[in-house]
């Protein structure tokens, strides 16, 4: 069932277009991330849902109710900000209970709900602390509890982890997902961090220059990017310009080397220019497993990235990266070695846009 619906949303600031023809439906309890680089319009879209910005045109509907011109304090939409935005003059308990106090709830009801929320974020002991006595991660937990305390119909999170260090980010990311699933609350999450979006979301909306590039679940977004932007923005990618050799059989050529593509190449003729892309982890050394495409390569560089080893290699005149798991039994080549690498037909992506 559709819970949130954004229909033909358009937002301009003077002559500059921030969001263009944005259409999206979000189901009840779904976790949707807006992913894109700075200035792509993701936060502006979120702010229009929250009511802090008015769309130039279009409609925001929540539970069938038109919210477009409803002020933010009448929407019952909880929001978590990048800078936490806890009220410095209030204790943790007062912050969490503020929305309920405004709603005119009784003291006992507020107290009960505050305790419940602090227990949910596992911060019962911090009841009387002031925000400046908490770490960034703790402040963001309190901000989350405060947004949830009012039992909002929709939860909006605007880059909530951006100001935190990597370890806290990882922990809080899992906690946000746990709480969201526990409460079953519809959530919109804005981030420029692909890892966050991929690990948290039911669906991801990838945005660029105010437009939606692709909407899909994390698996689809990562493995089947529909545009060049999505392919480049989500994950690492090797891209190379190629020429179509046989569109029916799906054969392309780069640097004089033929490459097989699955299912042929639709809408292209022999000799057409095309961009192909291969994820670094889709390459393998030939000894490991034989695949459809086999190439001679020269090892240019080897970089350790913790759990992954990135091998830079030259195939023809083009440079490619190959990622392989860093296991103890891994036998790495030396720089300058000539090797054979392979990748499946399925691994070769044809990019549009």
């Amino acid at each position: 069932m559709t819970h949130l619906e954004l229909t033909h949303i358009h937002k301009s600031f003077g002559t500059s277009v921030a969001v263009e023809d944005f259409n999206l439906t979000v189901k009840q309890g779904e976790f949707v991330s807006f992913l894109g680089p700075s200035g792509c319009g993701k936060t502006t879209t979120l702010r229009m849902v929250a009511g802090f910005e008015l769309p130039t045109s279009g409609k925001v509907t929540l539970n069938g109710k038109d919210l477009t011109y409803i002020p933010p304090n009448k929407r019952n939409v909880g929001m978590v900000f990048q800078s936490y935005a806890l009220f410095p003059n209030m204790t943790v308990a007062q912050n969490v209970g503020y929305g309920l106090k405004i709603a005119g709830k009784s003291k006992s009801e507020i107290e009960e709900r505050v305790r419940e929320m602090l227990s949910l974020i596992q911060m019962d002991k911090f009841y009387s602390r002031y925000p400046y006595q908490l770490s960034g991660g703790q402040q963001q937990r309190v901000a989350l509890a405060r947004a949830l305390a009012i039992r909002p119909e929709l939860l909006l999170l605007d880059e909530p982890l951006s100001a935190l260090d990597a370890k806290i980010r990882f922990e809080l990311r899992q906690e946000i997902r746990r709480i969201q699933q526990q409460l079953g609350i519809t959530t919109i999450y804005v981030t420029h961090d692909q890892e966050e979006a991929l690990s948290l979301s039911d669906r991801i909306v990838v945005m660029s220059q105010g437009k939606i590039e692709q909407v899909g679940n994390p698996f689809e977004i990562y493995n089947f990017p529909q545009t060049r932007f999505v392919a480049k923005f989500v994950g690492s990618l090797n891209t190379v310009n190629a020429t179509v050799v046989d569109p029916a059989k799906g054969v392309v050529s780069f640097d004089g080397i033929n490459l097989d593509v699955e299912d042929g190449i639709k809408g292209k003729s022999k000799g057409d220019e095309i961009t192909i892309a291969i994820r670094p982890e889709r390459f393998n050394f030939l000894a490991e497993q034989r695949k459809d495409n086999v190439f001679d390569c020269i090892i240019e560089n080897i970089t350790f990235l913790g759990s992954v080893v990135r091998i830079q290699m030259r195939i023809g005149n083009s440079i490619f990266n190959m990622d392989t798991f860093n296991r103890p039994s891994l036998k790495l080549p030396n720089i300058g070695d000539k090797e054979k690498v392979t990748c499946s037909k399925k691994a070769v992506l044809l990019l549009a846009g």
Partner: protein
């Protein structure tokens, strides 16, 4: 060795200039205090102070100036807190203009301001010099203008220390309307800034002379001047009382700011 010598030299000069500055500020005050205590030949005493404190005109001026100061603070805070808040939220680009406007009382001589006020408000359509009550309204308006640079700057600095926009949006997302945002979130976080501005306002109004003198109101400033025309020791005593009042105001500010820190610390210990 050279480094130690150079550090010692730097610390010597720091102390030297510090002492010089203290002497520069406190010697005249000490001189005034000493003079105010020597009304009776050969002994130190509080005779000048007794004369002032037993003068009903002093108490009339004192009461009047305190009343005017309190009203001025209320009016200034009521005007400037919402205005500066709105400016930060909706028209941040207007800040330089506000800066220029609020600095005008420093640039325009007090006498020009007073003549301007008297000329404008001594004739219809808005005649404010026909009764003492109306004149007091004019006085307060003048005091608000005179104290504008202090109140604006105090509130401005306070606003800059908090993320006004995000706090407002956070409160709104929790169901708060504009009034509640201002009273629950913005003003409590500006408490010290408003208090600072208020105390400087208070000190300014208590010592103001030109406006009260030209509008012929019984404020403390004109009383001090009139006393100075005919007496020697009493004006010195009055100057010390005036200084004490200012220091008392600053002391209060210090007390409240440190008390707020203490209270927060107490909450942690609990």
């Amino acid at each position: 060795m050279d480094e130690i010598m150079s550090k010692k030299r730097a610390s010597f000069f720091a102390i030297f200039w510090g002492i010089l500055a203290l002497l520069y500020f406190f010697l005249p005050i000490y001189g005034t205090l000493d003079f105010s205590l020597r009304m009776e030949r050969g002994t130190l005493g509080f005779k000048a102070y007794n004369i002032i404190f037993s003068d009903p005109r002093f108490w009339e001026g004192f009461r009047y100036s305190i009343t005017m100061a309190v009203i001025t603070i209320i009016v200034s805070a009521t005007i400037f807190v919402p205005t500066v808040y709105w400016m930060y939220l909706k028209v941040p680009q207007a800040r330089p203009i506000m800066e220029i406007i609020t600095i005008l009382p420093f640039v325009i001589p007090g006498i020009v301001l007073v003549f301007g006020l008297i000329r404008t408000f001594s004739r219809p359509p808005l005649q404010l010099t026909t009764s003492t009550f109306k004149t007091d309204i004019l006085m307060i308006a003048g005091y608000v203008i005179i104290s504008m640079p202090y109140m604006f700057r105090a509130v401005d600095v306070g606003m800059r220390s908090i993320d006004v926009r995000t706090l407002t949006e956070a409160a709104q997302s929790l169901g708060s309307n504009w009034f509640h945002v201002l009273t629950d979130v913005i003003i409590p976080n500006l408490r010290l800034a408003i208090l600072g501005g208020s105390l400087i306002c208070f000190a300014t109004v208590m010592g103001e002379l030109i406006l009260a003198d030209f509008l012929v109101r019984p404020a403390l400033g004109p009383y001090m001047v009139r006393l100075g025309l005919t007496k020697a020791y009493e004006p010195a005593a009055l100057a010390i009382i005036s200084y004490s009042l200012t220091w008392f105001s600053l002391g209060l500010l210090q007390f409240f700011s440190s008390r707020s820190e203490r209270q927060k610390q107490q909450v942690i210990n609990e």
